[in-house]
Symmetry: C2
Subunit: 193 residues, 2 copies
């Protein structure tokens, strides 16, 4: 009688911390995915609205010439906009999917593996886009005397501020994606016990 | 008697496929890490040996001028060399560590989680370095009429061939790292059953 009375008491004690841990992991996962959504959306808007038009006086022209700087003048910035759009859509779609992975069933563990695999691919895309724009922005800011590429940020300050902010936000988004992969691995690790 | 005779027969049957699966996962992991080592080492050597010197005839100079192209003239290429060195060292160090994670003990599962987390960070570094050099190489190859950055690859063909090859190899290395993360997640997934 004593044994059968102990057993039902021990079961909820063991299950409760596991459920609480799963719930807090899910909360962290959803919070990270929502932050990723905001970060990529902000980076996207900041890049797309970076257009700047300025009037320049040239010695050979009798009247000032209008020149503009737009994100679609640089292939790196076009790739950056595409990568951010993909990550933005991906983040909002996976918030829903992630909620299903909280139960400790075999199906949900498969879903966790799938999410973790897709997260690492999106992290790679975001990291490469951030790297691509950073290097072009650095040339725009400092120039390169060896190749004769002159800086453009002294003329197009607003455009460069927009690109610089977008790169910083995109770096944060890449770090969030790395944390999402680590979180999924940790969830799988907890289930292996 | 029949029950006790069945049990020991069933145990090796269940363990054998699991051990075989663990062994093949370990083989794949070590093969990927060795490929990563070769890829990053080749990318490193190809980038470091890319120096090209050429003589140019300028109308303002009475004699030809010597100009050179070196990887350390571009901050993106310096970052690329550092990232490849880190990934190269990391890959060879983790071949040894990975061998320990084959046993299904609690310690080895912790090691697998650690390896997976470090893999995703190195994957991010490699992806960003590949993106950074790709975008600069693209400007070197095609130029950018909007910013007035002229192409340099028609003058420094050997240098550009080296950088182009290094970027392709580095892209392969980044994909290998993504596969390593997925493989670790899959190993953790298998242990959760």
């Amino acid at each position: 009688m004593a044994t059968s009375a102990d057993k039902p008491a021990a079961q909820p004690d063991k299950v409760a911390p596991e459920t609480a841990r799963s719930a807090s992991l899910l909360k962290a996962d959803i919070a990270l995915r929502l932050s990723l959504f905001s970060a990529t959306l902000v980076a996207l808007v900041v890049t797309v609205t970076s257009k700047q038009t300025k009037l320049f006086n040239f010695p050979f022209s009798p009247f000032p010439l209008k020149l503009d700087a737009k994100f679609n003048y640089s292939p790196a910035l076009i790739y950056f906009v595409v990568a951010n759009s993909v990550a933005c859509l991906y983040s909002i779609l996976t918030v829903g999917l992630s909620s299903f992975s909280v139960s400790r069933s075999s199906q949900s563990t498969k879903l966790l593996l799938l999410l973790s695999s897709m997260d690492v691919v999106v992290a790679g895309i975001m990291a490469s886009a951030t790297g691509a724009v950073s290097s072009v922005a650095y040339i725009g800011l400092k120039g390169n005397s060896h190749t004769g590429w002159t800086k453009v940020c002294n003329d197009f300050d607003k455009f460069c501020q927009h690109v610089g902010s977008a790169v910083s936000i995109s770096l944060v988004a890449s770090i969030i994606l790395v944390f999402l992969v680590i979180l999924s691995s940790y969830s799988l690790y907890l289930r292996s016990h």
